[in-house]
Structure formats: structure tokens, C-alpha cells
Symmetry: C2
Subunit: 350 residues, 2 copies
């Protein structure tokens, strides 16, 4: 991949001059300017796109790459990102990869090719980090958003939310209410993106002397239907559970559905808590207790960080911004257990 320095060498100028030409800044003679632009073209260098946009008079746009626009969290987050971007004079383009790596790569190439001045990437898994690092090396500003583990930063600029803490808060809430026989529905594969919040939940239970037996943890797709299926498996095999923690609001809604299908009253027979606080959480009957992500703040930080990346040279150490901690939101889907062991196998009956 051609670097700014190689372009400078080929044009017989300093890197600062190349940068000035591409950003339309500083005083550069017309002949030098032409020589730089020719070197850029000949070597196939992809300059900072903001600079190119300034030169060509293109609109200022940021792209938001989401993996599944059908997951209601992403449109809600996109709305916040758009508000923040608009305040800085940017349009927001929403690109949906539909969890298809080829589609994701194609969007990233298009963004590298001029679609936007930079890109905010949601929930990058480890496979695509390489592609994103390539993109950044080519001078395209990239910001990861909703990195779930501030203690282990990724090799890219990012906005992190401490999701381990979300698991801690959910566990503390259920323990405080008096629950001891708790089940977990975890969205995604074991070892997937939800592992940190799961870890926070499990660690907290263990520290309280209420460690979760393996049979009380089920994984499922990170969707409503996935949560419902996992909840049916959990409740069919579970020893008198009085509460379920779902690692995301969508599967938590699925747990509410499964409870309704099994004629279990929520929260009397079964308390249910999720993570995120999507609008649907408020709209369910009963409304869902959850641990709210700082969505508005994360969106604003991502846009600010992307803007500073657009204005910066691409070879600095990737910065990380950490949001405020997630926050417990208690609604009507959690309460003290009415009685223990409604599904049999309660402590008192052991």
C-alpha cells in the first residue's frame, strides 16, 4: 500500500507538502501541486478522503456500518449518530452488512473509494479487524463503536462501553431482590461478543455464593426468537428458576414470550432482565427491566472521535474513549421471588 512518504519522495517534496496539497492548506505553488497530484495518481495513493472531498467539493459524509439493520438497536443508535454528525455538518450514510463478511468488505472498499470521509463500525468481530486496519493504513479514518472491554483496547480508534459492568449490575439487582436460582440466556455463540457481560454476571453470582450451574446457562441467537427458544430449553430443564438474565434486550423479550407461552406470570413467577434499553423494552407489557447502554453518549463520542481522526494523520496511536458506565433501569419485569421453585426442585424441596 502506497504511503504518504512514498508519494512525497516520488514528487520530490516533503510529506507535509503532500498533506497540504491534499488538504488544500498552506501555500503550495501550482506546479508543485500538480506534481504531487500526479504522483498521488501514478502511485494509486488513497489520500485522506476528507481532503479529497474538500478539493472536489463533495458533501461531507460519515458512514455507519452496522451488521443487522433489522436489529432495532442499530436504527436507534443510527439516529443518535446522525444527530451528532449533523451538529458537525456531516451527513450520515447507514450501510448494512447483514452479517455477511463479503458485503462488509465491499462496503469498506466503497468507503475507501470515496463514499464517505470516514466510517464508524459497530460490533466488529476479530475477523474484520484486519480489514479495518488496512483501511486505516490507507488513510481512511475508522472508529470502532461499542467496544465491550475497555481493559483490552483493540488496535483501532474506538469508543468503549464497559459491558462487564452491565453483567455485574444485572446480577446485583437480582441478588438484592432475593433470587438465588437464576438462569441465563446468552445471545450469540459461547465466546462471542456477549462474553464480557456474561462474565460480569457469572463472577458476581459466584462472589455471592450463588454460582450458576452449567445447566442454567443457554446460548441462542441474539434475537427475539433465539431468546424464546433458549428460554424454553432453559425452563424445561431448569431446577426451579425464579429469574432469568438475558444478555441483550431482544432475547429478553423472547424470554417474556416463552414465559407467556408457559403461563408463567412475570415477575411473580419469573423475573426477567435484559441489557441495552432499546425502545421495545419500554413497550413490552410488563415493561422490561434492563441495564441501559449509554447510547447517546457513545454515539456523540464516536462522531467526535471520527472527526478528530479525519483531521489527524493516520499514523498516530489509536485513541480510545470510554463512556460512562451502563446504568440499571428497574421496570415491572423484576421483583422479589413470590415463592421458590415454581418449576419444581426448589431449595426447600431438595
Amino acid at each position: 500500500m502506497t504511503t504518504l512518504v512514498e508519494v512525497a519522495r516520488a514528487a520530490g517534496v516533503t510529506a507535509a507538502t503532500v498533506s497540504n496539497v491534499l488538504r488544500n492548506r498552506g501555500k503550495v505553488g501550482e506546479e508543485t501541486r500538480q506534481r504531487v497530484l500526479e504522483a498521488v495518481e501514478r502511485l494509486g495513493y488513497r489520500p485522506n478522503l476528507m481532503a479529497r472531498a474538500l478539493v472536489e467539493g463533495k458533501p461531507h459524509t460519515m458512514a455507519l456500518l452496522v451488521s443487522s439493520i433489522a436489529n432495532p438497536f442499530y436504527p436507534e443508535f443510527a439516529l443518535e449518530v446522525e444527530r451528532a454528525a449533523r451538529k458537525l455538518g456531516y451527513f450520515l450514510l447507514v450501510c448494512n452488512t447483514n452479517e455477511d463478511p463479503a458485503q462488509e468488505r465491499a462496503y469498506l472498499d466503497a468507503i475507501g473509494g470515496a463514499l464517505a470521509q470516514g466510517v464508524i463500525v459497530m460490533n466488529a468481530d476479530f475477523v474484520q479487524l484486519d480489514a479495518l486496519q488496512d483501511l486505516r493504513r490507507r488513510g481512511v479514518p475508522v472508529v470502532l463503536c461499542m467496544w465491550e472491554r475497555p481493559q483490552e483496547p483493540p488496535p483501532l480508534p474506538c469508543v468503549a462501553v464497559d459491558l462487564y459492568q452491565a453483567g455485574v449490575l444485572a446480577a446485583e439487582h437480582l441478588l438484592r431482590l432475593g433470587h438465588r436460582r437464576i438462569g441465563v440466556v446468552c445471545g450469540g455463540e459461547p465466546g462471542g461478543n456477549h462474553r464480557w457481560r456474561l462474565r460480569g454476571f457469572l463472577d458476581t453470582l459466584e462472589q455471592a455464593g450463588a454460582a450458576l450451574p452449567p445447566s442454567c446457562l443457554r446460548h441462542g441467537h441474539d434475537t427475539i426468537d433465539g431468546g424464546r427458544d433458549a428460554a424454553h430449553r432453559l425452563l424445561a430443564g431448569g431446577p426451579g428458576l425464579t429469574a432469568v438474565f438475558a444478555t441483550n434486550d431482544l432475547p429478553a423479550v423472547g424470554v417474556l414470550q416463552a414465559a407467556a407461552e408457559l403461563s408463567l406470570q412475570v415477575p411473580g413467577d419469573l423475573s426477567v432482565i435484559g441489557v441495552t434499553d432499546i425502545q421495545l423494552a419500554r413497550q413490552m407489557r410488563p415493561p422490561l427491566s434492563t441495564v441501559a447502554m449509554p447510547t447517546t453518549e457513545a454515539a456523540a463520542l464516536a462522531v467526535q472521535l471520527l472527526q478528530s481522526e479525519i483531521d489527524a494523520s493516520p499514523d498516530h496511536v489509536p485513541p480510545m474513549r470510554v463512556t460512562e458506565a451502563p446504568r440499571l433501569v428497574v421496570r415491572a419485569s423484576t421483583s422479589a421471588p413470590r415463592r421458590e421453585g415454581i418449576l419444581g426442585g426448589a431449595d426447600s424441596g431438595d
Copy 2:
């Protein structure tokens, strides 16, 4: 606004030659090509963007302009549009105007300025039709989608769905179940976008001798909260209603919430039916009966139509594609009335 013909006159060539140059088609000598491109630049002509993209090697993109990405219908529709666009080799950019006319105008300008090769606009109201016609005259392909009244086509290429028929189907369903005391929650202002489906519903009741009294029609925001508020007003003042038609699924979900808050069983005490069939309709407990929009078909038609607009000259008569009719989807939120007049004032008691 500069036209293709003016460019041709200035360059001393035919309009067909200008078109060939801009589309990179046909045999055009290099000197002629340069003369045309100079005339294009001098006159500030905005050529068909697909042509420009071909010349400049930009990615092929379509834009989808939605008024509210927080309304779950739009992400669901965007997903379908993206699938259809991808089959034709296009990326889809989702632009959210947030119901802000200035923001909408800015996006349209950006699209005219090179953001995408064409734009699909959802739910255009009458104010912005002018702006869209301007855009089309400047050679930017525009397709309206979900035009609700095929009998009265707009002055732009469009995909129409007969939403009057949706109102007819909902009314016939409730009448067939035996309901006669029916209320309506209409999303949006009187005279707004929902007027055709409302008209279809009211006409059908009237033809069946069950005309709706004005007190049984309430308008509210086209949202869950708007539907809930309107339903509370309706049910507080309504004379023993046994069923409610909401002109959209979101307010219908709000009616379900209001029923729960009033301890009314759905469907025993109150049947509820919506329009659209968003995913949430299936996810409610009870799942919502509705009249399904042909979303997948409309998305595919919109993409096909936009592609043919991209390939066509901008001065032909705007074509219209009409989808198959909406379709009744019966779920558990509607049934025969258990008894009449649960809220007092029933027929038998009058």
C-alpha cells in the same frame, strides 16, 4: 438549470453524442469527448450520475431516503431494498431525514451532488414533491415508494400500493367476525398519508350499514405512544366498542397497551387490527392481526424502477408500478365479540 440540449448546442454536437460521452457509450472521438466535457463543466450541467460514476469509476450506489429510521417499518423495508439492490450490484445508503424538511433537502442536494446514482424516497408528502421534481429535471433518478393511491399517480416515477384496499380488508374482517361497534385510531393528522386506508375502512363500514360515528374516530401520532393515547381517549368516550382498527401497526401496538392498562382482554373484550405487518406485530402477546403490505415486492419493484430510471433519459413520462394488493393476516388479536358493550352503552341497552 442547464439541460442536455444546451450542453449539446454549446459543444456543437447532438444530444445523443453528449449522452454517449457521459455514459461512456458509442464511438466518440477524443477531441469531441473533451469538448463535451468542457461544455458540461462550463455550463454547470449535472449529468446523469450513473454516467458520471462510470466515467469516474465510483461505486454504484442507490440512496434510500426515509423520514424516521426509529419507526421499525423503515429498517425492515431498508433490508428488503438492500437485498434487491445488491442483486443488481448496487450499494444502498440509508439517509434518515428525521421528518425535518431542511435535512431532507440537504440530503437530496447531496445526492444530486454525487452521493448516489439515484434515490428511492419513502412517503413523500406533497411539500417535497417539488424538490423531487427539480432533482429529476437535473438528471438525478428519483423513485417514490409506497405511494398509497394508484388511482391518483404522482408526477414522479413511483411504486404504488393500494392502501384503500387495506382499509377495506380490515373492515370486512371485523364485520365478518360480527363486530358492529367499532372504533378507529388513525395515525397522523386528518388528511394525512393514512387518509386512503381510513377511507377504505369507513366506506366499507358504511356500505354494510355500520357507519362509524365521528366520536369513534381518533387521530394520534403514528407511533406506539400516539396510538396508546388515542386509544385511551377513544375507549374513555366510546359507546361499548368491541373492536379497534388502527391505521398502522405501531399505533395498533399502542391500542394493545391501552387495553392492558384498562384490564381489557384482547381479543375477548376488544379485538385489535393494524396495517403493515412489521415484525413487532408477530412478537406481541397476543400477536397482532393486521393487513400486510407487500413489502418485499415493493422494495424489488422500487429498485428495478430506479435502475431503469438510471438507464433512461430524464424526460420521459414518469412510470408507475403497482404491487399486488395488501393481504389480511389473522392472528390472535381479533375474534368474534364475546359480548356486546363491555364498556356500557351496548346496542341491547340503548
